[in-house]
Symmetry: D2
Subunit: 335 residues, 4 copies
């Protein structure tokens, strides 16, 4: 291994392009390049940013040339990289892993992949488990969102979790996916998220129910968490306040919806209007008996980006959990 970790980002969609940008912000990382299949506007902007592009489909190299874009062959990039962050669409990564294994390359996968593809990972929850792991799976946006806040609550003792996930149906740049005007429940109960949380956190009793809504902005989770014993609401607020990558927002400040959280992210100058933190409505935090209720929002486009960075550091044992999170947060403007 070189003094800097050399990283190839394979796949340059919603997550891939954010991960590439985040990689290029780290002082201890070097971006070998990105792998793309088509010479579209995103390829052109990547070139403008100085990223090397490698074409993941050989016969498409000509298409890039026609657009005046100079691209390399993917194999070359594989050789130069210490680790591949695989942000390809769901289902492709499993095949890619075989290739990575053959080339003896470490790799990081995203949450759309099966749990057994690597160590399931949320930095603040189980960083140490991923140390030296050859394959890590950064869990999905929803699972990461649940793990961050449930992980924080573990210090208060989590007995039982019940969550309804109101999912955004499509990302902001996805014009193909609906519904335009409907609510679409996932009738499989529990939804896969319950089991997925358990790949990261030791919570025995967890139920998740998912419903898709006609929105592109963020997921909203409605949570009921039975605690070991009754807690004061202020104590819970303190726990969340002192947990990294969680942000408390207030309806009474005018942050009344996911649209307002996105506005907040734009107003504070976040790149691409991203909100890496899980946002909990402070006014919604409510204790009744031993049960804590709260509402949180998850920016599906960006919240796993810092996890991908920390996963690399864990994988190469570069830093402790605290150090890695601190570096990543600083680079992304997370306070």
């Amino acid at each position: 291994m070189r003094s800097m970790v050399r990283i190839l980002v394979n796949g340059y969609g919603t997550i891939g392009k954010r991960v590439a940008d985040a990689v290029s912000l780290q002082k201890d990382f070097e971006l070998v390049g990105i792998a793309k299949t088509k010479p579209d506007f995103e390829a052109k902007i990547a070139i403008e940013k100085g990223y090397s592009i490698f074409c993941s489909i050989d016969k498409n190299i000509e298409l890039f040339k026609k657009e005046g874009l100079d691209v390399g062959k993917l194999e070359k990039a594989f050789n130069e990289a210490d680790v591949i962050i695989d942000c390809t669409p769901d289902g492709i990564a499993a095949q890619n892993k075989i290739l990575y294994q053959k080339m003896k390359k470490k790799a990081i996968f995203e949450g759309g992949e099966e749990a057994d593809i690597g160590v399931s990972f949320v930095a603040q929850c189980n960083y140490d488990k991923a140390i030296n792991a050859p394959y890590i799976r950064v869990v999905s946006c929803n699972t990461t969102g649940l793990c961050r806040t449930l992980g924080a609550l573990q210090m208060a003792g989590v007995e039982k979790v019940s969550a309804t996930l109101i999912r955004r149906a499509a990302d902001q740049n996805d014009i193909k996916t609906g519904p335009i005007n409907a609510l679409v429940p996932d009738v499989e109960i529990p939804s896969h998220h319950a089991e997925d949380v358990q790949t990261v956190l030791p919570i025995n009793n967890i139920m998740t129910i998912a419903v898709k809504a006609s929105t592109t902005l963020m997921h909203v989770h409605s949570l009921a968490v039975e605690l070991k014993e009754k807690q004061a609401e202020d104590a819970i607020i303190d726990i969340f306040k002192n947990t990294t990558r969680i942000r408390l927002v207030k309806a009474k400040d005018g942050i009344k919806s996911t649209a307002h959280i996105m506005e907040l992210a734009r107003d504070i100058g976040r790149k691409r209007g991203d909100m890496y933190e899980i946002c909990i409505w402070e006014d919604s935090i409510k204790i009744k008996g031993n049960t804590l209720y709260y509402l949180q929002a998850v920016h599906q486009e960006s919240n796993v980006v810092p996890e991908n960075i920390d996963a690399v550091r864990a994988m190469f044992e570069l830093d402790s959990r605290e150090e890695s999170i601190k570096k990543t947060n600083k680079s992304l403007g997370i306070i």
Copy 2:
């Protein structure tokens, strides 16, 4: 009282027009007319249907005349009516009640009004409580939806209820109200629905959380109900199957969303595409420990319509609960 109950429907919006149609379908009721403020297309269609219109704002009578619509004064209608079903917008009914009291007229109010305006009512849950009541409040669409299915579950013993309500933000013909692309949580926890259910059903432990979504079609409720003891899923299905005004639907039959339920209502020939029944996704019914989980959809435009009809029969002690529900169901095509 005459042999037929004479009814005035005051307010002719989403609920009022459906109630007027339902009233005119009952053999034991007579529709004195409807009260409206503006000579719009809905007024014209009402006239075509043969409904008498009474103008609730005196100075607007001229506007109706200009459009060639013959309307009467509201006072006259009050005199002729045995009962007023008040479907005016939220907040107006409270003032109207003073008038009704002065005129010694019985009245039925809708769920947007404060609970103390009359006996809170869901026919299949507490019909007898409303017998001879001078003032009845048909609870809101969401509360009615919760009461119907929770009421059915009481035979299995309901210990504790936790519900997340994903609310449609606007009705189908409301073009002013958003959000167009956001999720809007109600940070007040519990939402007002919990207490509202308790005005109808003796459930001590109930928590409701509400989030608004960008859709016009139906509400979706995600429910967790702790039962006295463990039940088989089939037993629960049987309970729901044998309960009136509940309809089981299946995602595996292609009813995968609220849009499909609306399509179902249109396909079976329901007037205005209405779905009076609370629709439970049978595939979502899940028992874990003593807790039952299920997802249901509520057609906010129509589900309280049958309740308004039954409320009249209870109020005038015309029929038993079973008889009234049977008559109402038959008239509306509810099987």
Copy 3:
């Protein structure tokens, strides 16, 4: 040919189920049955209505049986039918036509098919051209909408047409198709509609531009029509008033949007809330110089239904244009 025309409806989606219902309302038609591929809720309702179902995929017959639905083989239905109305998804009909030709069966196709599949048809525009034709193509919802109102204007002399079509992106029961929050222009100018109108009407100079919007209800067309000479707005209103299958609506009556037109259709008791007529906003009709401007809305789910019925009558030379339209209109409640 029997005394009644025997009709098979192949395909039972948005259009197919409406056509089947319309067929069964005609005194001179007999519905042999419908062809479906899956035993979903729509199949169950079809059976309840008494429609015979024929399974268009042999190996799926078992699936129907499992659901307790008795279905026949499609070939049998072909034999019994005089004509097939093919409402299968885009692109399948072309293959089906080869089969129909082999079996010497007449057939009617929908607007998604290529223009050369049969005589392009809008009843009030070119009924006579389709008399005795073996294959007719009922043009698409948008093209039908343009032809009805432009056809009416021909008596005033149409020199040049320029239309912007704001298209609904998905039907009401389509939960897969987006966009949820975007406008999607068709950068191909003219859009295919211009040429498609010319398969029906002799308009030499026509330009159409299409943009998709995040709505499921109706298309809206913004039209500029250069007339041979200046006309009074009232004269234009009269032309539209006297043209069948066109309905004038007014914003000042409260019909301010496509949502209100759908409400109107529901209020007047239309089955499935359908609006067969092209709705022109009367308040939008504006003459400037020789050019007429107006805005119209097209209910994509239903406006071509009457055309399918009239196409059968033309094909078998059962009635004159006027007679057929009159019968169809009466059966569907079009005044």
Copy 4:
């Protein structure tokens, strides 16, 4: 006047906050502060940015204090400012102007105000007309969008313009305004935009028709422009390419919708994801006869921001049109 122009931004909504940021980027401007009425999250972020806040409602000063925000009285700010950029909601500015006149302060107003409030202004179209003007009105987002591209086309001779404006119904952070699922035509033809364009450009023959759609992202304009004589499409592309604040985008590059333009803006690192330029789909540019057709998109939240900056420079005769536009563009990253 001081060596730097001292500016107060009155109103801190969608436009106001962007103008304040843009003002603070100009080397020749000084931001005196912003005027706000409520101590919401936007106020808190403004303070973090170092902006002075002045409370426009005296009795609300206490509310700011409660939130720990130090605010000044508005009168003080007025005194310190050379010019007020009034970004208050529609209709308030007219009253404010009386105040500004009394205080002998220059002011810039936005497009929601009546045309006679000041010189209507689009920098690249009529900068010189605004030189030394005491009151300037930056025209609305739609009008600015039309003026930029029609203004560019004037060198090819504009004979007649016909435009259909498909308007976004609400801004991204507006959760109150609908419609959620409808198209809402403006039946007033021409819409007010035609006349508004004429306050800036000498185009005699212009027709505009407006329809609102359920989207928050951008407006789309469908344009037909009759030119003095036939032009080649490439010549038109060249004109647009050489015009500032116009950006050509291509569907074939993957920019197929307004959502993709917003993605582009985020990808190139624009603050708040803003797109100041009018985006024309190059693939949509089409000549037929003497008429040019094209489709363009307008980012209503940001496209008038550069105009506000240039308006100040014109008002104080600080720079020539070219110089001012160059400075403004550079500061905002417009190439």
